[in-house]
């Protein structure tokens, strides 16, 4: 395997190996944390002394280190392990194969997506070595704590911004690939459910991540440039009033953070449901029950998941109107999950169920995910959330979704497609030990959290609540010891999986299609060659034609076949929609990619302008932009940007267009310099901070546009769409800061 490759399979494997490494790191961190909860004030065995003076004293964990472990466990597991494994690894490796494509639509961007993700992960890990250690403000990074925390938080924020870039590149690729590179005859309603799940997931990542990037940018400004977007006036820290301009609102972070972090739950769940659907279909030997409702439920879930984020803010005092709205949408969004889960369960009825290891993990996923989902309902109701918020109940709920839920699905996928990736099967016996051991251990770890949480035990307490007046919790502390040993057992039961992986390297090659599965990836050799298929795949039926009635004599019908290609046909098949628009979408690959990029940028600036509106509407006094910055630069800037967008050029932008863009940057620089000369700095007020941040982000976009105009290999027609975005944002800036 080459280190730098444009092949989607190599990139998928790189994602898989890297995310599994981070999964191991995240697990190691939680083992330490659970030791502290089980045995507070006792030295950590074996490695305690080696953890460093800043983290332990005589082997006993310090509170600062505990908070670092908690924050980084969540961050690593969500952002660096599970999502990249589900979307990056499985999506990259399987989507082109399942739709009969030769590669992703934009292979270079695909490779860049992986390397940006790897850089973000290393940056976040490096925070452990920074002054003051890793971030200590939880994986949610709530201000004001996160703003006044030590240096590691900056690594976290930069990492999040990079992860957003990586997600954007990956999701653009997945969407264009699925919509444009499908094999002949593969209509949307013939797509495997896994592909649908990846498509919806890509939309979620494309649109939900940018507002978090904008939030990370704002928090970075608070920490580095001294703005106070999240810092209220008169904040007292260790007995001193903090020296900030104030006027900010900590709820702004929660608003922008949860706009990503709730859809992120669906980013975890949807690929998992897609994997489980494929594995179940192949192992029950009959078609999935309710394929169409499952597809429409996935789409509906994707749309609705953008409308539920503030249910994480019921206790912030945002008001009953908002609570009622988000409570309603939250209950509504649970319906499609139930439809999909019910379809999968009903599919089992009447099937000739086989129980190889992938099926065990997939079927084990169903009740675990069900438990995770049902325990979420009380958290979606504003009244019951008052009692349960920030308790171990919440921790138990989302771990049932992510650990025995999503992770089981991912393991099902690894065991199911490993023969495709390597040509060899993983050892069945070791796999069974892996499954049953993990199933029991995970329930030992996570089920007691419901008991602790219902009793009111808060999360994030260094000693599990022992030093607080939790008289009611006396009996609950013993559960922490069970949970620690459950976590140890969980670690031990991953060893059979690692041994099976190592053993498979020396195992003989197996069947090309060991599960007798129908979908297109099984119509090529294992592992697939560069270009995936020897000829051109074509599809003439649905993805799940198994069993006596529909499956034919062999118990299944392959979804399609691969026919020999004539000279140049293969090359044309992968290049065709680069040059001409596809009939159904009406655009080329590049144009669709550009529109998706613009949609993502709209959400980025949407996050920033939403911050402006929140802070302005929540402020008792707001300065006049017209008085501070005048109208001249607004008028000149508008004319110059109009010059860039609306002056007609033939093939390449002329001197006039490039000149207008450069002059615009000069006007912006002059405006900044005048403001700074007049004593208006990012620290002066929230308004000034917003001005410098939003105009700065806009100027960077103008600069990027100038760079693109100067390149010969950029499609200048597509670039005009980009300039329209720049214009629209500028209009927003003029309204916000000059009128």
């Amino acid at each position: 395997m080459r280190l730098v490759s444009l092949d989607h399979k190599t990139i998928g494997l790189q994602y898989a190996l890297t995310s599994l490494f981070f999964l191991l790191v995240g697990f190691a961190l939680i083992l330490l944390l659970r030791w502290q909860l089980a045995y507070p004030a006792q030295p950590i065995p074996v490695i305690g002394e080696a953890l460093g003076d800043g983290n332990v004293t005589a082997g006993i964990m310090l509170p600062e280190f505990y908070t670092q472990l908690g924050a980084m466990h969540g961050t690593i597991m969500i952002f660096l392990a599970v999502v990249p494994l589900a979307a990056g690894a499985f999506g990259n490796y399987l989507v082109p194969l399942q739709i009969g494509a030769r590669d992703m639509a934009f292979p270079r961007l695909n490779a860049l997506s992986y390397w940006v993700y790897a850089a973000a992960g290393l940056l976040m890990l490096a925070s452990f070595a920074s002054e003051g250690g890793a971030p200590q403000s939880g994986w949610t990074s709530y201000p004001p704590l996160s703003v006044i925390a030590m240096g590691g938080q900056n690594y976290w924020l930069l990492g999040i911004i990079l992860l957003g870039v990586s997600s954007l590149l990956n999701s653009m690729n997945v969407i264009v690939t699925i919509l444009h590179l499908r094999a002949e005859g593969l209509t949307m309603m013939r797509l495997p459910f896994f592909v649908w799940a990846q498509l919806v997931t890509a939309f979620l990542l494309l649109l939900a991540f940018p507002p978090l990037q904008s939030a990370a940018l704002l928090q970075l400004m608070d920490r580095v440039a001294g703005t106070s977007f999240f810092m209220p006036s008169g904040l007292v820290v260790t007995g001193q009033v903090l020296d900030v301009a104030g006027g900010g609102n900590p709820l702004l972070w929660q608003h922008l953070f949860w706009f990503l972090a709730h859809p992120e739950v669906y980013v975890l769940i949807l690929p998992a449901l897609g994997i489980v659907a494929e594995v179940i279909a192949a192992n029950i030997r009959k078609p999935l029950w309710g394929y169409r409702p499952m597809v429409f439920s996935a789409l509906f879930m994707g749309f609705m998941s953008f409308l539920v984020w503030a249910h994480h803010m019921f206790l912030t005092g945002m008001g009953t109107t908002m609570s009622a709205f988000f409570q309603t949408t939250t209950i509504i969004v649970s319906i499609p999950s139930v439809v999909i889960l019910t379809s999968l369960v009903v599919s089992l009825y009447g099937g000739s169920i086989r129980f190889p290891v992938p099926a065990l993990f997939a079927i084990g996923f169903l009740p675990m995910f069900g438990l995770g989902g049902l325990t979420g309902l009380p958290l979606g109701l504003a009244a019951t959330d008052i009692h349960l918020h920030d308790t171990y109940y919440v921790v138990g709920h989302f771990h049932y979704i992510v650990a025995p839920g999503t992770l089981f699905a991912l393991f099902a996928g690894i065991y199911h497609w490993y023969p495709k990736v390597s040509g060899r099967r993983l050892n069945e016996t070791l796999g069974r030990v892996h499954f049953f051991g993990s199933f029991i251990a995970m329930n030992v770890v996570f089920f007691p959290m419901f008991i602790q949480g219902l009793a009111g035990l808060n999360r994030r307490l260094y000693d599990g609540g022992r030093s607080y007046d939790y008289a009611f919790a006396d009996g609950l502390h013993a559960l922490n010891e069970w949970q620690f040993w459950g976590a140890v057992a969980l670690g031990v039961f991953q060893l059979p999986f690692i041994v099976a992986l190592v053993m498979s390297l020396r195992a003989p090659r197996g069947e090309e299609n060991p599960w007798h599965a129908t979908t297109l990836e099984w119509q090529t050799v294992s592992p697939p060659p560069h270009g995936n298929f020897a000829g051109l795949p074509s599809v003439d039926r649905g993805p799940y034609e198994y069993g006596g009635e529909t499956g034919g004599a062999d118990d299944f019908h392959a979804q399609g076949a691969v026919r020999a290609a004539e000279a140049g046909e293969l090359e044309l098949s992968s290049r065709r929609w680069r040059l001409e628009p596809r009939a159904d979408t009406g655009v080329t690959n590049g144009a669709l990619g550009m529109w998706l990029f613009i949609a993502s940028e709209v959400m980025l600036f949407g996050g920033l302008f939403s911050a402006y509106v929140l802070l302005r509407a929540g402020s008792v006094s707001w300065p006049s932009g017209a008085e501070l910055f005048g109208w001249q630069s607004a008028v000149i800037g508008t004319l110059l940007l109009a010059g860039v967008s609306f002056v007609r050029a033939r093939n390449r932008p002329g001197v006039l267009q490039i000149g207008c863009a450069v002059l615009f940057l000069a006007v912006e620089a002059f405006e900044w310099s005048s403001a700074l000369g007049a004593g208006i700095t990012p620290r002066s007020s929230v308004f000034a901070g917003l001005f410098f941040t939003i105009t700065g982000a806009h100027a960077l976009h103008v600069l990027a546009g100038v760079g693109a105009m100067l390149r010969n290999d950029v499609n200048q027609r597509l670039l005009r769409y980009y300039w329209w975005l720049v214009d629209v944002v500028w209009i927003g800036i003029v309204v916000a800061f000059h009128i």
Binding site: L179, G185, T187, M188, M189, R190, L191, F203, L207, N249, L251, L252, H255, K286, P287, L288, W289, G290, Y291, R292, M294, V295, L299, F303, L307, A310, M313, F314, L315, G317, M318, G319, T320, T321, M322, S323, A382, D540, R541, G542, Y544, A583, D584, T585, G586, A599, V602, M603, G606, F609, S610, A611, V613, L614, L615, R616, A617, G618, S619, V620
Partner: protein, 77 residues
Amino acid sequence: MPGALFVLLMLAAPAVAEACPICFRDPESPMTAGVMAGVGTLLSITAAVLGGFGVLIRRIARAEMTTRPSAQHEGGQ
């Protein structure tokens, strides 16, 4: 006795009983207004972008309806 007095007070002033300062805050406060405006703005932008994707999905669905050979061999039962 203090408990009964408390209940009587609550019955006498139900609005005070409802206005839990932690959970629901003051609906007239600038902070509530700010959060509502910020959330409303992001909701509107999201709705507009999702609407755009809705148009794309409709376009693809229409194209499929006119070109697909038959609905017989589609996914699942």
